[in-house]
Amino acid sequence: MRPGKMIREVLRSFWKKPATVLYPREKLDMADKYRGKLKFYPEKCIGCKLCMRDCPTGAITIVKTEDNRFEAHIDLGKCIYCGQCVDSCMKKALEITGDVELAQLDESKLKVVFRGEPKKTDKENP
């Protein structure tokens, strides 16, 4: 029985570099497949809405803008970053990026919309 058995390790820690990362001055190195913000490719979407059906919180809404054109309204506050929509999508129109610094002061900024380019009409290409 010895009191203070940790003393050698403790004194050794004094000379080591602290195990603290000075975030946000130093950035953390995150794993490359970390689940962060969603990314939507409007050109691949066919509007089946399977992602909306499988989302546990109802964070994604697919809205039809024109014929065969869809845009996605994602509420980053409701999203739990599980990635089930990515798995459910049959056309691989959704992707998880590693962007995790998503904090905002204004709640309306948390609702993001992914829309595609507007279709070129015949008037522009004579």
Binding site: P3, G4, K5, M6, V10, L11, S13, F14, P18, T20
Partner: protein, 313 residues
């Protein structure tokens, strides 16, 4: 008169002591953090804490008795600061030394503990009452070894005055080495007085929230924290004066630096003790103090007694 006022209020009185106490708190917390492989607070953290607490509102529980609640921290701080005035820092005496002042110092050091008890008891909160009763129970355990360690050094020097002890030890340069056992006993008892792990039972955070300090907030809490820091510096300075009485005859700036080094190294040893052990339970602490510390204190007393007779000083 102005000289006395200056030395009470500015240097080495209240202002110098406060700044030294807050710096000592930074030193203790930084060392504690580095030993745990963390970064620790910056140098201005205790000052910032103090200023922030002063700016906050005092909340006084309606069931408590307001006068005792508000006076207790003030008494504690005054007693702790007054003690410091009698401890020789870098000379062999102070402006206020007198014969018998070592006893007065030891009694003054008890007053903060009693003030914490009164503050906690009159808070009428359950956690505060348990904490204040634990404060007093702990007093019975560490007080005797602390007194024995310090008074055995006084015994060898054949005087009841702290400055007389310093004069004696500077005349016989190596005799302070005989007091090392008393030094060790006093260091462990000082951990009890300052309520640091393993003896921080009165304010065990996971058992009684904050013990006697639970209901304090705002300015009163700032005074309480300052009292704890001042007690740390005072206790360390007392031990440095009694057990490490060398380097006093040098000229003033050098002796001042040596004094600071002594105090900071004693605080470093206290931090190291804090890092490597867990908290004891009340009954285990009383067991430990009475079974181990008191016999060692008595041993030191006997050693000094025989030395005194043997050397017939």
């Amino acid at each position: 008169m102005t000289n006395a006022l200056f030395s009470i209020i500015i240097f080495p009185g209240f202002f110098f002591l406060s700044i030294l106490a807050l710096f000592a708190e930074f030193f203790d917390r930084k060392l504690y953090a580095r030993l745990q492989n963390r970064v620790g607070p910056p140098w201005f953290q205790p000052f910032a804490d103090f200023i922030k607490l002063i700016a906050k509102e005092d909340i006084i529980p309606c069931d408590s008795s307001p006068r005792m609640f508000q006076l207790a921290p003030v008494f504690a701080l005054c007693a702790a600061v007054t003690t410091f005035l009698y401890i020789p820092l870098w000379r062999r005496d102070t402006n206020f030394s007198f014969n018998g002042d070592i006893i007065v110092i030891l009694y003054f050091l008890t007053i903060p503990t009693l003030a914490f008890f009164i503050g906690g008891w009159y808070s009428t909160s359950l956690y505060a009452r348990i904490g204040s009763v634990r404060c007093l129970t702990q007093l019975f355990a560490y007080e005797i070894p602390l007194f024995m360690g310090i008074l055995s050094a006084a015994l060898l020097a054949n005087t009841w005055s702290l400055s007389g002890m310093m004069v004696f030890y500077s005349r016989h340069p190596l005799l302070w080495l005989c007091n090392l056992l008393g030094f060790a006993v006093s260091l462990v008892s000082l951990l009890g007085k300052l309520e640091k792990v393993p003896f921080d039972i009165p304010e065990a955070e996971t058992e009684v929230v904050a013990g006697a300090f639970t209901e304090y907030s705002g300015r009163l809490f700032a005074l309480l924290r300052l009292t704890l820091d001042v007690e740390t510096v005072t206790g360390a300075a007392l031990l440095a004066a009694v057990f490490l009485p060398f380097g006093l005859t040098l000229n003033a700036p050098l002796a001042f630096v040596i004094f600071l080094l002594k105090v900071l190294s004693i605080i470093a040893v206290l931090s190291l003790c804090r890092t490597v052990v867990a908290r004891l339970r009340m009954d285990q602490m009383i067991d430990f103090c009475w079974k181990y510390l008191v016999p060692l204190g008595i041993l030191q007393l006997l050693i000094n007694l025989f030395l005194k007779m043997g050397l017939s000083i």
